[in-house]
Amino acid sequence: MKYESQRVAMPYFIFALILFAGQIVFGLILGLQYVVGDFLFPEIPFNVARMVHTNLLIVWLLFGFMGATYYLVPEEAQTELYSPLLAWILFWVFAVAGTLTILGYLFVDYATLAEVTMNKLWPTMGREFLEQPTITKIGLALVFIGFLFNILMTALKGRKTVVNIILITGLIGLTVLWMFSFYNPENLTTDKYYWWFVIHLWVEGVWELIMGAILAFVLIKITGVDREVIEKWLYVIIAMALITGIIGTGHHFFWIGPPEYWLWLGSVFGALEPLPFFMMVLFAFTMINRRKRNHPNKAATLWAMGTAVMAFLGAGVWGFLHTLAPVNYYTHGSQITAAHGHMAFYGAYVMIVLTIISYAMPIMRGRPYGNSNKAQVVEMWGFWLMTISMVFITLFLTGAGILQIWLQRMPESGEALSFMATQDKIAVFYWARLIAGCFFSGGLVVYFCSFFIKGQASFDDEVRGPALQDA
């Protein structure tokens, strides 16, 4: 750690991981409700548990992105953070607002929550992933703006690197697009159209800039490859992300009202969307192959390779599976969508946050060369347990989806099974998914354990490896 103010990233990372644990607990509840329908009913109905599961994910990823930003922007800009105090204030504002919202979901009936937060004055609630009361949405917007101010002031007074510029571009995009969450027209089709400006243009747009920048930063640090080379790759990756991803929004417009030309645009550009993720795999592996040093933090290297591969599989391959309109006609809103969503979020955004945590946390804890070998081995066990479990979760949901489509979507009206009858037929896949989810939780516990193992890697661990001179 070169600048003392980078340490403000630590509470962000720790709080992100606590929320991650909460997200997984609710994931298990949901998984069980899929097969034991009345589990925890009426105390925690499915819609409440799902809202907690998805909102915790969004909030903890945002905490992770902010932590990553506070850590890497000062280091890249070669200056202290503009205002560590502001970063701390915003941390508490965000943490308290986020926690209160989640508690509101759990302990207040949703209709009552809408009433007491005066949703009537400016209705924005009750839309998937944007369930937060309007007052929470305003709070979130203010946190983003304060955060951006702090980061811009830091970046502007220091060295302007490509990593910083792209990361900040992504964060500005994130903030600007969030404003569409306040637009909820009375016409459902218009509502849905602009809803995607937040959802799609976040995860298949500006978040890829954030992911690319964080990955580039970690690769510069752990491989020692020349910054010029890494920055060129980064530009190509984000160019592809935006060139394919913006019009690629069209793959969400197939069946919600917009005209037929979106069937073509969404299919063609959607089919190209795996490209930036494929480039990220090449990027991570090429840089690590050409490494100029053997960084003793092997766990961080593993996460960096893992996030590229899993993002490609989850977002790229599983996205491509159902992006073509003739296929999507049958798969839209089925368990295929759920399969894709799980692996894409885990691979691209969970793992990139865990990558920067794996790299930066040991340094902030006074272990400049990384955790002890023992701690790293435990962390890597966590990596493999969570990642392999997520592969199985995705495969089981894909199986459920294929069977669901076969029984419910493909036959003619009259012959097709009803939704609920189909759910009974595919229950075995849901049980298997739940078991994989339990293994995932076990992996998370193992991962958390790695933080409590003492000791650190030393400089000697670096030179002990084979030095690569030819790169």
């Binding site: 009750g126 935006l242 036959p411 939704f419």
Partner: protein, 149 residues
Amino acid sequence: MAERFTKSMARNIYLGGSTFFILLFLILTFDTQSRAMPERDNRDQLTKQVVNGKHIWENNNCVGCHSIMGEGAYFAPELANVFDRRGAGNSDVFKAYMNAWMNAMPTNVPGRRQMPQFNLTDQEIEDLASFLEWTSKIDDNGWPPNIEG
């Protein structure tokens, strides 16, 4: 990457490409919203009752279990075509069905998925039914493939 392909070339592709596609996206959005949608979303039928129905839909987080036009959760049936599935395309039949259904929840059958009791008034249920009826008439390129949604 080859040495001839420089960083500034990569940056120019990024800036030029993203600017071009942002502009194209804005133009397409303008065309979709101003020209195409008015003919497809039967907005002339968008009554006060339908709007109120949408608020009831949102305030009770219906999308937390159900999907509507394929979007939402996948725990309970698709509802963009429930007007055709349960009301046989008839407003009165559908309203009567909705009223009976909403008041019968939850079923409390052990082990089955449960829909909460939302304690809606008869008028609110009627508004919700109007919203679902209006939604069923949007031109959505023929989705879903069959009546089961």
